[in-house]
């Protein structure tokens, strides 16, 4: 854990190191993934079957789950979890419905008709990881915006090592209305989604997190299909004054740290005493935490505490760090928030722990990491829509705008461009 004070002589250098520290441990699996994709492209289901048997120790007769099977597994999920998923889905739906964009159409002063329509993608594939990171909440966060956008076919792949299915993931899929589910994973699942096989029709876009193989496979099929942002290890930045309960802040920092040894939790505060109390709190909590191994590694290796003179001084630091999650645990969080231009999602006030947003807040929990909040955004219904623009000139209106276009086409050395217009002006 780094402890920085803005009054330190070497603060600028230390902060810059913190900003530029890349936490991702990239393993180069590109050749292995290339081979898997090429094999699936040529041999389809047969290749998928071999990889699934080999990597997941699982040999189903069919990869797809029947409606009966989906319902059966979903019902294995405890009622209180299913109810919580339904509650979450309702809130996520409400927030994402507010995002529905407006088409527009107008005729300009010279009589040209112009318009723009938002159109949903036709078909989307959601990759859900197996094992520990197989989160039912992520199924909702990925599927519901696609559904609200109007995507007609939303399918899901999830690896089932040893044939073991996570009932909560199936319950989430059922809550989200996903009816097409394949029990496959890894680069082979990504290849199937991108190119299709005899039993799996291809999709237009693949979303959802995965391991190094899945991520590399998404990179390789990008262009053939769309993909979402590549997610790095999770991050939280908490800006807190000394009026907070230090234990609450300790839990917030640990909630991010427990995700991944590469996760990062940073506290910015204007009180050195408060900083120390939070650090002590974390030390006190860690030994009793069941996820302590991961949380401890993350906090030790990537955690940071920054003491500033006053909380306004945190603003440029936050914008440079461009955190995935930002908590503003202060009296007037709105005053600070209006100056923040780079953050994925902001949690305002002392009663909005980031974890509430992971599940039931409403905004999406799929957010830009590794400073990409400088140029990208959390998942939204826009990720499942595209825009088509329309232009319509008539004989008269083309006369009014055509000449300028002819001049520019000629200037660019494109005579057929020029003639396609001028021939209609005669």
């Amino acid at each position: 854990m780094d402890f920085l004070k803005t009054t330190d002589q070497d603060f600028a250098a230390k902060f810059s190191a913190l900003v530029n520290n890349r936490r991702e441990s990239r393993v180069d699996v590109s050749v292995a993934v290339q081979e898997i994709i090429a094999n699936v492209k040529v041999r389809g289901d047969e290749a998928i079957r071999e990889y699934t048997s080999c990597f997941d120790n699982h040999s189903p007769t069919s990869f797809g789950l029947s409606q009966k099977a989906i319902t059966y597994y979903a019902q294995q999920c405890s009622a209180d979890i299913t109810t919580a998923l339904e509650f979450a889905a309702e809130r996520i739906t409400a927030f994402h419905q507010k995002q529905v964009p407006q088409n527009f159409v107008y005729t300009d002063s010279v009589g040209v008709n112009l318009s723009l329509n938002w159109v949903p993608l036709s078909t989307v594939g959601i990759y859900v990881p197996g094992g520990r990171a197989s989160y039912p909440s992520s199924v909702l966060m990925n599927a519901l915006p696609a559904k609200i956008a109007g995507v007609r076919r939303i399918i899901m792949t999830v690896p089932t090592p040893n044939g073991k299915i996570n009932p909560a993931v199936l319950a989430a899929a059922q809550v989200a209305g996903i009816t097409e589910i394949y029990c496959i994973g890894g680069a082979q699942a990504i290849a199937a989604l991108a190119y299709g096989t005899a039993s799996i029709a291809p999709v237009d876009k693949i979303i959802g997190p995965g391991n190094a193989y899945v991520t590399e496979a998404k990179r390789q099929v990008h262009g053939t299909v769309g993909i979402d942002n590549i997610a790095g290890p999770s991050e939280i930045l908490v800006v807190a004054d000394d009026k907070n309960n230090p234990e609450w802040i300790a839990w917030d920092l640990l909630s991010q740290a427990e995700h991944d040894p590469c996760a990062q939790s940073i506290l910015i505060t204007d009180s050195i005493d408060f900083a120390q109390t939070v650090i002590d709190s974390i030390a006190g909590i860690l030994p009793c935490l069941s996820t302590r191994k991961v949380a401890d590694a993350s906090w030790k290796e990537h955690g940071a505490v920054i003491v500033v003179d006053n909380l306004d001084a945190s603003i440029p630091l936050v914008n440079q760090l461009a955190p995935e999650h930002l908590e503003l645990c202060v009296d007037d969080p709105h005053q600070l928030a209006q100056h923040i231009r780079c953050a994925g999602s902001i949690f305002l006030g002392r009663y909005t722990p980031e974890a509430i947003g992971d599940y039931v807040g409403g905004p999406n929990h799929v957010l830009p990491t590794a400073r990409s909040a400088r140029f990208s955004s959390g998942l939204s219904i826009y990720d499942f829509m595209k825009r088509i623009t329309y232009l319509e000139c008539g004989k008269q209106s083309l006369q009014k705008i055509g000449k300028a276009a002819v001049i520019l086409a000629e200037a660019e050395g494109l005579p057929a461009h020029a003639r396609s217009i001028s021939t209609r002006l005669q």
Copy 2:
């Protein structure tokens, strides 16, 4: 040129081959580009200077152009071109201003405050190619949406082989209000934009087309900065009945073909006679066209004519081809257009040649190629904005939604998540 009829026995196979034909000739320059980027990262301006001297045969004392120099070169551009650029800028601005999205804020029934703000990126770099593809119109199409989005710093790099500057590009930059211009290009320019050097501050996102080195460099710096969609060779699909002037349609098809030997022009018509007349027209025009070498290569290699029984039968074909540009040269183009779900930009009626949209229509001419209109869109102000979401619970409202989140956190095996909420519920 392929000639297909839907009544052909082997139509499905031939059409599928057309859909899946990848026209991009990818040269693997990844290692060379890696080296250039690494060199610029470490040696900054010195490396840029060496590459510029070596690749562009140009050794300026400074890469940046002064205001005086920008004005000087812009004034070398002829007045009618500058006036046409101003006219185009006005129309492009009007269309993109209609895209300005709405923030939203609401308090839900349990008292939770939720909101979403659209925030412009801080700084964007536009790459403008040198040589033949150095299009002033593209400067406008890239810069104006960024300006309307509210990006404060928009910079441009343009290689100037042998120190030669394209006045029309500088005039376009001036019309678009770009005041920071560097005369560098290639992978070294992309590296400078992504990582910065002593003389060039880094940007948050890089946009604009380039050669294989530029494209690969953008791929490699993606993540450190945002990038736009990778553009492939241009495409046009014209759906036309036999009431069109065949020569007009011939020019439209050639206007795309003259861009690049890998460009693609496709005609779909319900009249075999009309198809033949257009083909003859093209053959007649080509010998006199100054861009005939490129246009002829593209038409011969990638051109296609598809004869359908009736124009409604073109709809599924169009949606599968997902063309960058679609012209609907028919009596009622709106009737057809409402069924098109995959196309970058649609040009309606007999008086809207695609080229009008390249310059002065208003909608953007940076559009998805290679069937990516299935999942992506043309350039817009949204490409220069990001969304921040906000969540604010109070003591009471957290009580109302917290329990469900605790249940889900526990189900996902994340105890610190659960405790960060439950500790605030007591």
